[in-house]
């Protein structure tokens, strides 16, 4: 008997799929392309998801809430050497799931609603909602699934639906390229993830999270610790692909070729978050080494994409790179072990980034598909609603106090500081440094964007005529409007903005505008205890099996150098946690990090507010007061400017190495196949044919020669004898008679002698 929540969650999972199936087949037969089907079903989904949220989060307000259900999907029978073996599919609901369900369904619903306005008049209007449906379905799948195999399946399905959505304007070559690029880049990430899954399966013959964690805890992992680290890093590769981390970040900015609602849904709120969510799921099996890799990649991504975002002109590209940068934050957060902070940022970022994208969509819509910020300006009085919501979201992204973004980002940075101190400083300080640098730049480019778009006077007339967006019109059904009055968008596009903007305020998450730790989220989603023994305790961890937490705790306290730190950590944790029943961390390193994180809370707040002021201040100086002329500066530091403007040349590098390389290899191999392998075959054939020709020659000149010679002899003799060939029977008969007479003559001779 399934729990009612499970049944509801299954409904949540399947309703978007239903919407997809209905719309993909009947969108042309239904009125309005059947958008009401999509919106209606998503509305239902949202209602159910919110009910689940209510039950789980509000009713039992319990960090340890967990509900699971599974069924046998594949049955391998009685496998020799292993015994009965099944692959199970299942659903798990805990606080994180409930929150994610609510978040995803809310944003998806808002995007549906928004699209009814934004996509009006498109050729494949109905199909668009179908695609949104399948995307939401696969996203729910990722959120709900309780094992690596099913999450991998939905992972790929998310890839498919993003492929379809990015390539929605498939008749634009740029869109077609972008969708292919996105899918392939994700595939590269997925291989790594798949290999990670394989490593774990090959040890435990199961895909389920809980089983795997239990096995690792019991030390059933019989390969070396390095393999476990490898598993963690490889699984992280999946996240690198989906969450557009360096070095696989290149697809996300190109993915802006999709319609803007898609950018909001996929590339801000949900899909890219899937990577982080997945890392959170497998967080407990990450070895410290794996965490280091993750932390550095996250930090570097946050920094690099922030530098790129500074110089972009396209409004959506700026947001795209800021997304990459924020995702870098989340990954950084996971890497440094502040699990709940990262997930907190994931949640808050989803709301304000979706708001930003939808806002930019509204602007683009109002500007008739003008995306270049250089030709905007002065929109604040024309589009007040958009202006207000966009600004709130911007501030949240920049991390201004009183916004949700501040709470989460500050928590992450605190974690980074703590991490750096625990790991013993040195190189590890790069992580927080990158983090703070990214914070400065975030504030700067967001200020730049808001100013360029909303303030100053309109610069539409400055736009060079010849590059007047033909792509946009090719993309868009109705023909050229020219530039008539820019107007505020309709209600169904405005409502989502308002809702999302409201969700970007601190009070939603935490009573204390300066400390997210006091909020319900941090209470419900707590960093789980790791199952891998950290390196210094590795050798002991290897030999003690089936330890319950307390025993391991005792061991850890007796023989690690953090012996006095751990209890302090607990004390700190207890004091800082709202209700004070914080988790007890058996692993000394983890306990230490948690402790230091709390210790660095205020430093982080001070530093990040400093950075914020620096960033916004610089934006004001450059773009408002015009003290520094941006163009001159750009000229002054042209190489740097170009380097940033061309996105660090990653695309060019990949194109020159990987893409060109594999094409070259494929050409070579094809040639090899056609000429060498097949050539050998044909060569053998030729040899045989040559041999046959030789035989033919022998035939012609030797055998045939004999024949001809005989023929010649016969001919000559024949020429003699033909004289007596009269063709008359009687002649021959006479000859016979003569012959007989000759015989008689012989006979007489015989008698005579």
């Amino acid at each position: 008997m399934m729990h009612s929540l499970i049944q509801l969650s299954i409904a949540v999972l399947l309703l978007p799929l239903l919407s997809f199936v209905v719309l993909i087949f009947f969108n042309r037969r239904l009125p309005r392309g059947g958008d009401f089907v999509g919106v209606g079903l998503l509305g239902t989904t949202l209602a159910i998801a919110l009910y689940i949220f209510w039950t789980v989060i509000v009713q039992h307000y319990d960090p340890a809430f967990r509900l699971a259900w599974d069924f046998t999907w594949l049955d391998f029978g009685n496998v020799p050497g292993v015994g009965p073996l099944q692959v199970k599919m299942g659903i798990v609901i805990d606080n994180l799931t409930a929150i994610m369900l609510a978040m995803v369904s809310l944003i998806s619903f808002l995007v549906h609603l928004y699209s009814t306005g934004y996509m009006k008049g498109e050729t494949y209007y109905g199909r668009f909602f179908a695609y949104l449906g399948i995307f939401t379905f696969s996203m729910f799948g990722i959120v709900l699934s309780d094992n690596l195999f099913s999450i991998y399946m939905f992972w790929e399905l998310v890839g498919l639906s993003s492929y379809l959505l990015i390539g929605f304007y498939f008749h634009k070559d740029s869109a077609a390229d972008a969708q292919k690029k996105a899918f392939l880049t994700n595939r590269v990430g997925d291989i790594g993830m798949w290999l990670g899954i394989l490593i774990l399966y090959s040890q435990f013959h199961t895909f389920g999270y809980q089983e795997i964690f239990a096995h690792i805890k019991n030390g059933d992992f019989h390969m070396s610790q390095a393999w476990l680290t490898a598993a963690g890093v490889l699984l992280f590769m999946g996240c690198v692909g989906k969450s557009a981390q360096f070095p696989l970040h290149v697809w996300l900015p190109d993915a802006m070729e999709g319609p803007t609602p898609v950018s909001a849904l996929i590339h801000a709120a949900t899909m890219v978050a899937a990577g982080v969510y997945f890392m959170a799921r497998i967080f407990v099996l990450l070895t410290p080494e794996a965490q280091h890799v993750i932390a550095f990649i996250g930090a570097f991504t946050a920094f690099m994409s922030a530098t790129i975002a500074i110089t972009q002109h396209d409004i959506k590209r700026v947001l795209a790179y800021s997304t990459v940068s924020q995702l870098g934050y989340m990954v950084l957060g996971l890497g440094v072990g502040s699990y709940s902070a990262a997930l907190f940022h994931l949640l808050t970022h989803a709301f304000f980034k979706a708001c930003l994208f939808l806002g930019s969509g509204a602007i683009i819509h109002a500007m008739h598909h003008e995306q270049d910020m250089r030709w905007m300006g002065g929109l604040y009085k024309k589009m007040p609603w958009t202006f207000v919501t966009f600004s709130i979201a911007t501030l949240a992204l920049a991390g201004l106090p009183l916004t949700s973004g501040f709470l989460s980002k500050d928590a992450i940075l605190a974690g980074a500081l703590g991490f750096a101190q625990v790991e013993g400083g040195g190189i590890f300080y790069l992580v927080p440094v990158f983090g703070f640098a990214a914070a400065v730049m975030t504030a700067f480019y967001m200020g730049r964007q808001v100013w360029l778009v909303f303030f100053g006077e309109s610069r539409t007339h400055l736009k060079p005529a010849e590059e007047h967006g033909h792509d946009a019109h090719a993309a868009h059904g109705h023909d050229d409007h020219g530039h008539h009055e820019v107007h505020e968008v309709s209600w169904n596009m405005r409502l989502p903005l308002v809702i999302l903007a409201t969700l970007s305020v601190f009070i939603v998450f935490s009573p204390d505008p300066l400390d997210g730790g006091k909020g319900w989220f941090m209470h419900l989603v707590q960093t789980p205890a790791t199952v891998v023994a950290s390196t210094e305790a590795a050798h002991e961890g290897a030999k003690l099996h089936a330890p319950e937490a307390g025993k391991l705790l005792a061991e850890a306290h007796t023989d690690t150098q953090h012996v006095e730190a751990a209890p302090a950590a607990h004390a700190e944790a207890a004091s800082n946690e709202g209700e004070g029943h914080g988790p007890v961390y058996a692993d000394p390193r983890q306990a230490e990090i948690v402790h230091m994180t709390h210790a660095n809370h205020w430093n982080a707040i001070k530093l990040s507010s400093l950075m914020l002021i620096a960033g916004i201040g610089m934006a004001l100086i450059v773009y408002v007061f015009r003290i520094i002329d941006p163009d001159k500066t750009a000229q002054a530091i042209r190489p740097l400017y170009l380097y940033s403007f061309n996105k660090w040349y990653w695309d060019e590098i990949y194109d020159a190495t990987i893409i060109k390389g594999s094409m070259l290899i494929s050409k070579i191999l094809a040639w090899f196949d056609a000429n060498i392998v097949d050539g050998l075959v044909n060569g053998v054939a030729t040899v045989f044919r040559k041999f046959a020709f030789f035989n033919g020659g022998v035939d012609k000149y030797v055998v045939d020669g004999l024949v001809n010679f005989t023929a010649f002899t016969v001919q000559t003799t024949g020429a003699v004898f033909r004289k007596i060939q009269t063709g008359k029977v009687q002649t021959y008969l006479v000859m016979v008679v003569f012959a007989v007479l000759g015989w008689f003559a012989l006979y007489f001779a015989h008698l005579v002698k």
Binding site: R722, Q725, T726, G727, K728, V729, Q730, L733, V734, V737
Partner: protein, 107 residues
């Protein structure tokens, strides 16, 4: 002595007759132009052969000669039928039964 010999009919008489018949048949086959007459000659030759068969089988007291002469007769009948059919065809084709003018096989 000669008279005795002439009166006691023996092997040689029959052989002599058969030889004469054979010779006449040969002559016909060799010299005549008319295909039909040539056929008659062939019949004569066959008869001569039959006489020999019977003679030897009588004077050696075996049935072989008799039997073979029987077969010879049958074959002669067959041969005659075929030969005449051929002759008729030749006539249809060449409008003549003159074998000397039927020499398409020459060279």
């Amino acid at each position: 002595m000669l008279t005795e010999q002439l009166l006691s009919i023996g092997v040689n008489h029959f052989l002599t007759i058969s030889v004469i018949l054979f010779g006449l048949g040969m002559f016909a086959v060799m010299t005549r132009k008319n295909a039909i007459v040539i056929l008659m000659g062939v019949e004569l030759i066959l008869n001569a052969a039959n006489i020999n068969f019977l003679t030897f089988s009588k004077y050696n007291g075996g049935m072989e000669g008799v039997m073979f002469s029987l077969f010879v007769i049958v074959l002669a009948a067959a041969e005659a039928a075929i030969a005449l059919a051929i002759v008729i065809n030749i006539f249809k084709t060449f409008k003549t039964v003159d074998v000397s003018s039927v020499d398409t096989m020459k060279e």
